[in-house]
C-alpha cells in the first residue's frame, strides 16, 4: 500500500518533455512517432515526432471532417493508420431525438403545448441549449465511420479511404495489418457493436462480420433488456483468435474469431451491479504473469457516487476464456493525489494496450499515471506514479491515455490539455521488462 504525501507528485518517474496541445482521447507510439486523437474539433489527429523524446515536435495535423465530428481515437499498424469519426457531443445531440416524444408527453400532461423551459427540463438540457439541440436534430448526422491513412511518411499522412458506418459513428477500435475491429453504431442496432473490416485493400475496406450482444439487434426482432445504450461495446482487443470485448454496463465478453466471418461469444463476466463504473477495456496479456494466464479490465469513472469505490483495475484469471474470474483489484486512494477533489474526475480510465512485462501503466484522471506491478497477481502493488502539473486555467490533471515505447518512455495524454513524456528516474526505479 502507498500513502502519498500531498506534496508528492512523482515517484519512480521523472519528466522528460511536455507539449502544450489540446486534450486527447488516445495516444499510440510506433517507430518514434506518437499518434494522438484529440477530443474536440477543430483539432483532429496530431502526429508527433518523438524520436528525440526531449524535443517532441508536431509534424502533422489532420482536422476532423467537419465541426460536427471528433476524431479522438487513433491506431497504427505498419504503414496504416486508422482514425475514428464520431458525432461530436453525441450524447447531447442524442437528446434531440427525444424532443417529439417529450413534447407529446408534456402536452398530454398539461393539456397544452409545453413551454421551451418545460421541454428542456423534461429532456435534461439547459433552456439556453435548446436552439442548438433543435438545430442538431434537424441537421442529423451522416459522417460517422472511420478513415484509413497511409503513414509511410508520418509527416505527410495520405488518406486512402473513408468508411461510413452508422448512427453516431465509431468510438474506440483495434486494428492489425489485416483487419480493423471497429466499435460502431449501425443501422438496426442499439448501441455500439463490433464490425470487422478486411484491410487487404486499405483503399476499400470490406466488412467481413458483425458481433453484438443479444438484445442489440432490434431490426432483427431482438429487444434490449436494458435502458438506452447502457449495454454497448466500448471496444474489443484482439489476442490470438479471440476478441476481448469491454461492453460498458454489460461487463466483459470473450469472442471466438477463429472464423473471422463468424464471431461467436464464448464467455462473459458482468459485475454491474454492485460495482458502479462501466467496463472500459478488457485486454488479454499475451504472456503469462506469475505463471498465470491474465487479462486486465479497467473501469472508466464518470460521476463518482460517494461511498462507492472509485473506478479501478481488475486482474483476471483468463486460463478459461469461457469463465473469466477475478483474482484481485487495484485501487488508488484520493490520498494518492494532491489534485483529488480539486475538480474533474478522479478514478481510473485506461491502461497501455500492450504488455510491458508485469507492469501496468494506467491513467487515473486526477491521479495521473500509476505504475502497478502484477508480478504476484494476487497482490498488485504500486511501484511508481506521475502526476502531470495542470496547465493554467485547469485545476487538476485529467490523465486520459498512456502508452509506453520500447525505450521505456511513457507518453501521457491529458483529456483537457497537454501531452507529457516521462521516464524512469533510474533503470531500477520502475523495473520494466520490455
Amino acid at each position: 500500500m502507498t500513502a502519498v504525501p500531498k506534496t508528492e507528485t512523482a515517484r519512480g518517474l521523472r519528466p522528460v518533455a511536455r507539449l502544450d496541445i489540446m486534450g486527447g482521447g488516445q495516444v499510440v507510439v510506433q517507430d518514434g512517432y506518437a499518434f494522438v486523437g484529440h477530443m474536440s474539433p477543430p483539432e483532429g489527429t496530431s502526429i508527433i515526432d518523438v524520436r528525440d523524446p526531449w524535443n517532441p515536435v508536431v509534424v502533422a495535423r489532420i482536422p476532423p471532417p467537419s465541426r460536427f465530428s471528433h476524431t479522438h481515437k487513433v491506431r497504427v499498424a505498419g504503414h496504416l493508420m486508422i482514425t475514428n469519426v464520431e458525432r461530436h457531443r453525441r450524447h447531447f445531440y442524442r437528446k434531440g431525438e427525444g424532443l417529439p416524444a417529450a413534447g407529446e408527453v408534456l402536452s398530454a400532461r398539461f393539456g397544452r403545448p409545453p413551454t421551451e423551459a418545460e421541454l428542456a427540463a423534461e429532456i435534461g438540457v439547459a433552456e439556453a441549449d435548446m436552439a442548438d439541440l433543435r438545430e442538431g436534430a434537424a441537421r442529423g448526422y451522416d459522417e460517422g465511420g472511420f478513415r484509413v491513412w497511409n503513414i509511410a511518411d508520418p509527416a505527410n499522412p495520405r488518406l486512402l479511404s473513408t468508411v461510413r458506418t452508422g448512427g453516431i459513428g465509431v468510438h474506440r477500435f483495434d486494428m492489425d495489418r489485416d483487419f480493423a475491429y471497429i466499435s460502431t453504431e449501425m443501422e438496426g442496432y442499439v448501441g455500439n457493436i463490433l464490425v470487422t473490416y478486411d484491410l487487404a485493400d486499405p483503399a476499400a475496406p470490406r466488412e467481413v462480420s458483425r458481433w453484438w450482444m443479444p438484445g442489440q439487434h432490434v431490426a432483427g426482432g431482438e429487444t434490449p433488456s436494458w435502458k438506452g445504450q447502457r449495454h454497448r461495446l466500448h471496444h474489443a482487443l484482439r489476442q490470438g483468435d479471440r476478441m476481448w470485448a469491454a461492453c460498458w454496463y454489460a461487463g466483459a465478453y470473450v469472442i471466438d474469431i477463429s472464423d473471422i466471418t463468424r464471431p461467436t461469444t464464448i464467455g462473459s463476466f458482468n459485475y454491474h451491479p454492485p460495482f458502479p463504473e462501466p467496463t472500459h477495456t478488457l485486454m488479454r496479456l499475451p504472456e503469462p504473469v506469475g505463471g498465470r494466464e491474465i487479462a486486465l479490465i479497467v473501469d472508466e469513472e464518470h460521476d463518482h457516487v460517494p461511498g462507492q469505490p472509485h473506478g479501478f483495475i481488475w486482474i483476471m484469471d483468463a486460463s478459461d476464456p469461457a469463465n473469466l474470474t477475478p483474482i484481485s483489484t487495484f485501487h488508488v486512494s484520493e490520498r494518492g493525489s494532491p489534485y483529488a477533489g480539486a475538480g474533474g474526475r478522479f478514478g481510473a480510465h485506461q491502461f497501455q494496450e500492450k504488455q510491458v512485462g508485469s507492469l501496468v501503466y494506467a491513467t487515473w484522471f486526477a491521479g495521473g499515471v500509476r505504475v502497478i506491478d502484477i508480478a504476484d497477481p494476487e497482490h498488485p502493488v504500486e511501484v511508481g506514479f506521475y502526476l502531470p502539473e495542470p496547465y493554467p486555467g485547469h485545476v487538476a490533471p485529467q490523465s486520459n491515455d498512456v502508452d509506453v515505447d520500447e525505450r521505456g518512455f511513457v507518453y501521457i495524454l491529458d483529456r483537457d490539455r497537454g501531452f507529457e513524456i516521462v521516464t524512469a528516474t533510474t533503470p531500477a526505479a520502475v523495473e520494466r521488462d520490455v
Binding site: 500500500m1 450524447h91 435502458k227 461511498g307 483474482i327 487495484f330 494518492g336 500509476r370 498488485p380
Partner: protein, 85 residues
Amino acid sequence: MCESCASPDDDEALPSFSITPALVGVMRDIEADLPGRRVSEEAWQVFFGAESGGIGWGDLERIARSREAAALFLSLAGDHNWTTR
C-alpha cells in the same frame, strides 16, 4: 455527467454510501459473521479509501456483500444517515 463520453442512460441511481461509523461498524460485524476467511485490515483500508493498493477478489466480494447487508440492516433499524440519495 460528462456529455462527451457518458450517456444519460448510464446515470442509473446507485446507492450513495456515506461511510458513517455506524455503517462501518455494522459492515465489519456482518463480515466477521460470514463463513470463510476474514477480510484483511489492509483490504478494509483500501476499500474505504485510506490507502492505495490491492484487494483480493474474495475480500472485495465479502466487503460488497457486507455493505449491502449493512445498508439493509440500518434501513430496517430506521437509520438512514448512511445514504445521501
